[in-house]
């Protein structure tokens, strides 16, 4: 069955992957190398909030809409057109067998008018509703809690805005609501009222998106190896998953900012079950017992990119660089010794993350993480991390600045962990240790993001300088 899926007009790249992941979660049968079928309305392009998607039942559509962050609603389309005459023809030709059961005299209904691109006055809205008298509504109107909710949606032409493509022609849709979003979720969980925050806490909307990409649900165990303040785990817990987290910084994980302001308080704030475990450990040298594998259903995280927060790993900084010989901590100082840590390059960090996921995820388990990319103007092919155990199923870009963005990668484990993979990872680990400095230099995002604009530009045509790069879409679009 085809449904009209209306999205909130934000985080455009994230919309369809979220629906695909949720469809799978709610039981939609999707063949091995395929995805859902999507269709665009006539004259619309991919940025439009209106998409048609094929799902096997109304129930799945309803469940997706309820849990989704970016879907505003799912509708059974009764008609569409570029003007009200076309709309009338379209609705009249829609089979009665689909319509009449929702128009019965013992039911209640409501018609809402929504416009995209322009605000309508109350009078104008009323006129539009009145124009639908050719539909034989026999029930009573109930504005608060109707049995059936109908939507008349009008998309109006607009010009280029914020780097997005313009809408060229008006289009009107009329449909019966099948599912709608939970609008209370984001206001409840927004970061500004969160008890314990850190500089890189994931904002609630994005954390829920990540939890949806990972198909977090009751009975599953979700792990975050860079847990920090627990912002990602909170969202997974809200969707019913058991959670577990680790971090190398013991102050964040164990102490927080006090007994009422730490990771546990974040869960307490929302009445969510506490994480199963919080650990201090180094992902580069994890303390998992040998033989332990396939224990997590999903790994969701935001590794340190090295731009605003750098990663750390075990081993003294000076030892790793070779400026100091390896030393032994004297016995009498051992108990309270705080081990020093060294810089952890993004390349090595992601390598370790993929290896951890390859080993510890169940088959078909999902790895969902952010990866930073420089926004190169030459438009070269970006290479994402790869691993023989994983299949990349979704890539969604969030533009952070004119210089760089981050992409949310969703990978599914399709091959089991093997001795060969273990050995390859061990060799790579040694390679990183031997050539510590070289790996730190490669792919250093921090310097690219913060380097000053080329000074030669200042002396050219002042108009050109005002807009050296084309306007970009912004963080939330």
């Amino acid at each position: 069955m085809w449904f009209l899926c209306v999205f909130y007009h934000r985080l455009l790249d994230f919309r369809k992957p979220e629906v695909e992941a949720l469809a799978e979660l709610f039981g939609e049968e999707i063949a091995e190398n395929e995805s859902l079928q999507w269709r665009l309305p006539e004259h619309h392009h991919n940025d439009t909030p209106f998409h048609f998607v094929q799902l096997s039942s109304e129930e799945i559509a309803r469940n997706i809409a309820k849990r989704s962050i970016l879907v505003k609603g799912m509708y059974e389309l009764w008609g569409e057109g570029t003007c009200y005459e076309e709309l009338k023809e379209s609705i009249l030709s829609y089979p009665d067998s689909r319509k009449l059961q929702f128009l019965t005299s013992d039911s209640t209904f409501r018609i809402s008018v929504e416009t995209f691109g322009k605000a309508l006055t109350f009078e104008e809205q009323k006129d539009r509703i009145q124009s639908l008298t050719y539909i034989p509504f026999e029930g009573r109107v109930n504005l608060k809690n109707p049995d059936h909710n109908f939507f008349l949606m009008e998309m109006i032409e607009s010009e280029e805005n914020n780097g997005l493509q313009p809408i060229l022609q008006r289009r009107i849709f009329f449909g019966r609501e099948v599912g709608f979003a939970d609008r209370k979720l984001l206001p409840t969980f927004q970061l500004k009222s969160r008890t314990y925050l850190g500089p890189t806490a994931m904002d609630a909307e994005m954390a829920f998106l990540m939890a949806n990409q990972a198909k977090a649900t009751s009975g599953k165990l979700v792990y975050d190896p860079f847990v920090g303040t627990g912002s990602i785990l909170v969202s997974a817990a809200q969707f019913g998953a058991m959670t577990m987290g680790a971090d190398i910084d013991i102050r964040v994980v164990r102490d927080g900012r006090g007994p009422d302001c730490n990771v546990w308080s974040n869960f307490k704030q929302y009445g969510l079950p506490m994480p199963v475990a919080l650990l201090r450990m180094d992902n580069n040298l994890p303390p998992w017992r040998s033989g332990l594998k396939e224990i997590f259903d999903a790994i969701i995280c935001d590794p340190p990119y090295g731009v605003r927060a750098g990663g750390r790993k075990s081993g003294g900084r000076k030892i790793l660089r070779g400026t100091v010989d390896p030393y032994t901590v004297p016995d009498d100082k051992r108990t309270d010794h705080i081990p020093s840590t060294g810089a952890y390059s993004l390349v090595e960090c992601v390598h370790d993350l993929l290896h951890l996921a390859a080993r510890m995820l169940v088959m078909k388990g999902r790895l969902v993480f952010f990866f930073p990319v420089l926004r190169d103007e030459t438009g070269g092919e970006v290479k994402f991390p790869e691993h023989p155990c994983f299949k990349l199923v979704a890539v969604s870009e969030q533009i952070l600045s004119s210089r760089y963005s981050r992409v949310l990668l969703t990978m599914v484990k399709v091959e089991p962990y093997s001795e060969e993979i273990k050995e390859a990872a061990r060799l790579m680990h040694l390679e990183f240790r031997e050539n510590h400095l070289k790996w730190l230099e490669d792919g250093n995002i921090h310097s690219s993001v913060f380097k000053p604009i080329d000074s030669s530009q200042i002396h050219t045509d002042p108009k050109a300088f005002k807009d050296p790069k084309p306007k970009y879409r912004g963080k939330y679009v």
Binding site: S218, L221, I250, V276, L278, D282, L292, Y327, P339
Partner: protein
Amino acid sequence: MRLITHNMLSCNIKGVTNGFPLRIEAGNVIKKEVDFNPDFIRHMFAKLEWKALVEGARSMGYAELPEDSPDAAVLESDESFLKKLHHALLELHLEEGALVCPETGRKFPVNKGIPNMLLHEDEV
């Protein structure tokens, strides 16, 4: 720290081959109730090292688990066993104490329920 976590951890100091299971030095153990989710317990059962769990539970003051790992069939039929397993895995907390490596004797401290598994510079 719960026993479910303890069951996953070993000492990873360079050169150590027999770092599992870590012996629990229980300083302060408390009981915290957790909602019972039988699916989750069944799912976890398959991943557990049973002997380590029984020994660990004993160190934390709980001796109700059977010595030998029961058959998978018990999981479906015996809810009281599942509840005992749930209690052992999720409701016993080591707030203060240490995890001790069986080979080297190195202590990994547990403070405020969080084990510190970070290695010193010369153990890496």
